[in-house]
């Protein structure tokens, strides 16, 4: 497959870097200001080096990516809420040109799922978005394999930053502010960690899961979301006295989406530690399945994108 990659952050760069290993060619790579386009395959190493040196990726405009001879558009621009632009328009242009789209950007799938599916129905191309939920963990493909009708709920931890903070608070008896500062020093939390700690990031992922289970009908505003900012160290201490701990847990069913701090058994499957993520898929006929792994990171998320590319039918 020939890939056109929009977005040159951690994920976009890693997709470009690893594409060859998975048997794919990269014909275009764009960030928000410039692009490099070559129908015979771009010079990936050169482009990544220029990006690392804060230089222009190439001499083309980002818009020129759509004129490249590509099979799959990889949408890896930053997630935006509400109208999910410009990601949504990127997906629209590729589908209208009868090309496939693989998203790492959560916005369009969480906020405008039905519109995406309608566009897909009129296109020869199709959309896949494994990378939007749980990074490297195969969540959506597991649901697809179990058939969504046989899955009754998905629960778990899908934000590594919040999980890291709660883990450190419980282990060290420290308060939220202190551990957040430590997480920022370690690069685990961003300078503005709002969406991680207020539950928004996890909620977007569980909204996507609910959309897959119910075939649409949910956006972020339908989710009940609570963050971890108000959890003091003393609450974790009390939970521990009872053999429990507190995790930022999301739940997606056909009836709704809920994210908030919850009590879980300290040694139970959902009490993963550090930045690790876990998803429990509750099935009607096969009990619960648990998948755990790295829920974020460039190469980790890129493997989910490239697995999706591998699942696409030839155009």
């Amino acid at each position: 497959m020939k890939l056109a990659i929009l977005g040159a952050g951690d994920v976009g760069r890693s997709v470009a870097d690893l594409a060859g290993e998975y048997g794919h060619d990269v014909v275009a790579l764009a960030d928000s200001t410039t692009a490099t386009v070559d129908d015979d395959g771009i010079d990936i190493a050169g482009a990544l080096e220029r990006k690392a040196g804060d230089e222009a990726l190439g001499s083309s405009e980002p818009d020129d990516v759509f004129d490249a001879d590509y099979d799959v558009l990889v949408e890896a621009t930053p997630t935006t809420l509400d109208d999910a632009e410009p990601g949504f328009s990127h997906v629209t242009r590729a589908l209208e040109a009868d090309r496939h789209v693989v998203l790492a950007n959560k916005g369009p799938v969480a906020e405008r799922y039905e519109e995406l599916r309608a566009l897909e129905a009129d296109s020869a191309g199709s959309i896949r978005f494994e990378a939007t939920v749980g990074g490297a963990i195969p969540v959506l493909s597991t649901i697809e394999d179990s058939t969504p009708q046989a899955v009754t709920a998905a629960r778990g931890v899908l934000n590594g930053t919040a999980n890291f903070i709660l883990t450190r608070m419980a282990a060290e008896g420290l308060d939220y502010e202190h551990v957040l500062a430590e997480a920022q020093d370690l690069g685990v939390a961003e300078a503005d960690p709002t969406f991680d700690v207020d539950g928004t990031d996890a909620a977007l992922k569980f909204v996507i899961l609910a959309n897959v289970l119910a075939d649409g009908g949910f956006s972020l505003e339908d989710a009940t979301v609570e963050g971890i900012q108000n959890i003091p160290g003393s609450a974790l201490d009390l939970a521990a006295e009872d053999g429990r701990t507190i995790r930022l847990i999301g739940e997606a069913t056909r009836d709704g989406v809920r994210v908030g701090p919850r009590l879980v058994p300290e040694n139970g499957p959902l009490a993963v530690t550090g930045t690790r993520n876990i998803v429990q898929i509750e099935t009607r006929n096969a009990g619960s399945l648990h998948s755990s792994g790295r829920g974020a990171g460039g190469p980790e998320t890129a493997t989910a994108v490239l697995s999706d590319v591998g699942r696409l039918p030839p155009l």
Binding site: A153, R155, N230, I231, L238, D242, V264, P265, S288
Partner: protein, 189 residues
Amino acid sequence: MAAVSDDPVDEDEAETDGGVRAYTVRLELVDEPGELLRALSPIANNGGNLLSIHHERGNITPRGHIPVEVDLESPPDRFDGIVDALRDAGVNVIQAGAEHYGEEISVVLVGNLVERDLSNTLSRIEDEADAVVRDLSLAAPDGTDAVSSARIRLAIDSGRSDAALEAIRAIGSEKELTVVEPLLGGDSA
């Protein structure tokens, strides 16, 4: 004639070892003189042994009745007869049997617990979530004027945990407390 072992009729058959079991019966009484005595006599008359009576006179149900909780012990084969006799006497039996308070859940409350009147919070949880507070642990490392946490272990009726948690959520949001609920779904509870 089917001999199905889980037929409910079989479960209700008398035990033959002569043992007694403890039961809780929840009644609603009309607020009239003599009503409590009238409600209790069918218990003693049918082989029940009264253990305790929790009579909340100040607490009126939405129907204007007074809730009364009666703990009693009786041979298992007599218990259904006691409940029938109560109902025959016109006593409103809300809930009877061992399934009462059959589940336990823990929640953690966070916020200005003391300033928001912790004992009122607890009694409202008991009333509105239909629960009994079994145990309370309070952690106020920065003093009772600051944000503190409380872990509360609650006994609730079997199958009513979702409704109880919903009631606790409502109390929490009214009192600006963060309610950390247990995760009940799946096999993680």
